[in-house]
Amino acid sequence: MTISLTRRRAVPRPPALQPSVTAGSRQWVGYAFLSPALLLFVLFVAGPFVAAIVLSLYRWDMLTPARFAGVGNFTAMFGDPLLYRSLANTFVFALASLVTHLVGGLLLALGVNRLKNRVLSYFVRTSLFFPFVISWAAVALLWKYVLDPSFGLVTYYLGKLGVDTPNWFNDPSWALPSIIGIDFWHTIGFTFVIMLAGLQTVPNTLLEAARLDGANAWQTLWHVTIPMMSPTIFFAAVITFIGAFQIFDPIQIITPQGGPDNSTMSVVMYLYQKGFQSFQVGYASAVSLLVFAVLMVVTLLQFWGSRRWVHQ
């Protein structure tokens, strides 16, 4: 910053150029470059967001004229047990996802970072990341077969180990954990890559210094590596939670009705059913604003909390 400022003063400019950059007559250039983005933004993001707020105040089925409902949709949410259920499921999913991804991603990154064998390192990195590039539709269908109670891989090999497997997606206490597991398989590569990149930003000189001071591996990890990686870990935490809270694809594909006893019903699944299956558009909009509010509060909390522990 300071360098460029002093330079600006030191290097004299042609008098004609300086005003033309800032003067009002040239402002249209900026708007011209921005106009496609601005138009699309208003049309598909800002406008619809405002419209969602308006819609949430109405009762509308997309066919008959909308009727004003005031805060009726919001008060109705308080007495909606299925909404509570879907919120609880979503929080469980998002928290489980957060913890398993951060811990798993960090451990895997630490492990792979220590591998000296290049072939093995390439194999592990590739195989961890492979599932992430595959669409959820393909992943969800594949895992329906992998966990099939009669011929699935997991059923067979766990049976060989003497483990009695449940009927994963039809058992109310196993349906959500199954989807948590599949999500781990699909998405861990992303967290892993971010962690690995963060790990490589830890200065070697610090690690060497810690070793020379007699720190063991655990102390080095806890007092040097993790603090130095805290911005990366923080970023991964925010991204993982926001993504997980919007879980929809695998739930809709594997358990189209929201699972046995609504055990896999997520908020987004619920708002999809309300909006596009029973056509309660106003109510669905109100639920979508709830999703927005939760994400905003959690993100702000994470940012606020990060000031206490993220290494700057």
């Binding site: 921005l34 220590r114 959820w136 594949l142 020379l212």
Partner: protein
């Protein structure tokens, strides 16, 4: 021990101390890697196995008897080729279009001065917290009014606005020295010329990262087509897979063949670009 620590002694001592642990670590990670790819291996093997022998127990890890028949049967059940072309069309338009829009906007935010610049950027960034699900219902209503429901345009049109890419490009362009384009401007170069002849050619890694992420998001999109599309000839691959699986007469091996046909090209592309792919995601993560 009293010897001065030199660059030579430290690594040697360390390597001797850690080696057994490293072997165990290597084994553990190898098992993890195998477990990660096992479902994919099983998928491909079953899709190449004749129907009467597929899904046998213990699970077969070689396609015996080998056949390509399962793949030939996909197109009779769902218009697979058509859906692949639809997916390709949507992803290409969405990716190229959104990159163009984002590069222009990123340049405006990085290099041009106009009233409200910071405020507009701030509003756009705060939209990153608005989930798709909040805007999808009004966007659906808008598409219905435009007569675009059940058209591929309903998928790529909203994808053209990519706030994350705009912000990412702005950050990246800010790291390119201003002296470069200011010199060109003194020589009389126009803004489009500067953007496409100076800034864009210097932004290879950023462009690659955002292109890959945009294409991947569009190619794998399930929520969009589920809501906007209804007729089979307009479907994209993710919905096509689920339709095939739920449909009558589609046996499991054919479903596996279809999944394989969708997954393997992505895997090949990924292997080809693995280095830049992982690096770009990592850089997007670190800078984002």
């Amino acid at each position: 021990m009293g010897a001065p620590v030199t660059g030579a002694t430290v690594p040697v001592r360390r390597r001797h101390r850690i080696r057994p642990a490293r072997v165990v670590l290597g084994l553990v990670l190898m098992v993890v890697g195998v477990l990660m790819v096992a479902p994919l291996g099983w998928l491909i093997v079953q899709s190449l196995t004749a129907e009467r022998a597929a899904f046998s127990l213990p699970p077969g890890w070689l396609p015996r008897p080998f056949t390509l028949d399962n793949f030939a049967r996909i197109d009779g059940l769902v218009p697979f080729g058509r859906m692949a072309l639809n997916s390709l069309q949507v992803s290409l338009i969405a990716t190229v279009g959104s990159m163009l829009v984002s590069v222009l906007a990123g340049y405006a935010f990085s290099r041009l001065r106009f009233r409200g610049r910071e405020a507009i950027l701030l509003v756009m960034l705060s939209a990153l917290m608005v989930p798709v699900q909040t805007t999808i219902i009004p966007v659906f209503v808008l598409m219905r009014n435009l007569g675009l429901v059940d058209h591929l345009a309903a998928l790529w049109l909203p994808a053209l606005i990519n706030v994350f890419a705009i912000f990412f490009f702005r950050q990246y362009f800010n790291t390119i020295p201003r002296e470069l384009d200011e010199a060109a401007r003194i020589d009389g170069a126009s803004h489009p010329w500067i953007l496409f002849r100076i800034i864009v050619p210097l932004s290879g890694p950023a462009l690659a990262a955002m292109t890959i992420l945009a294409f991947e998001a569009s190619w794998n999109n399930y929520f969009g087509p589920l809501i906007f599309l209804s007729s089979p000839q307009h479907m994209t691959l993710p919905i096509g897979l689920v339709t095939l699986q739920a449909g009558q007469g589609g046996s499991s091996v054919v479903v596996f063949a279809a999944i394989t046909a969708v997954v393997v090209p992505v895997m090949v592309v990924f292997l080809a670009f693995q280095r830049s792919f992982a690096a770009s995601i990592a850089s997007a993560g670190i800078r984002g």
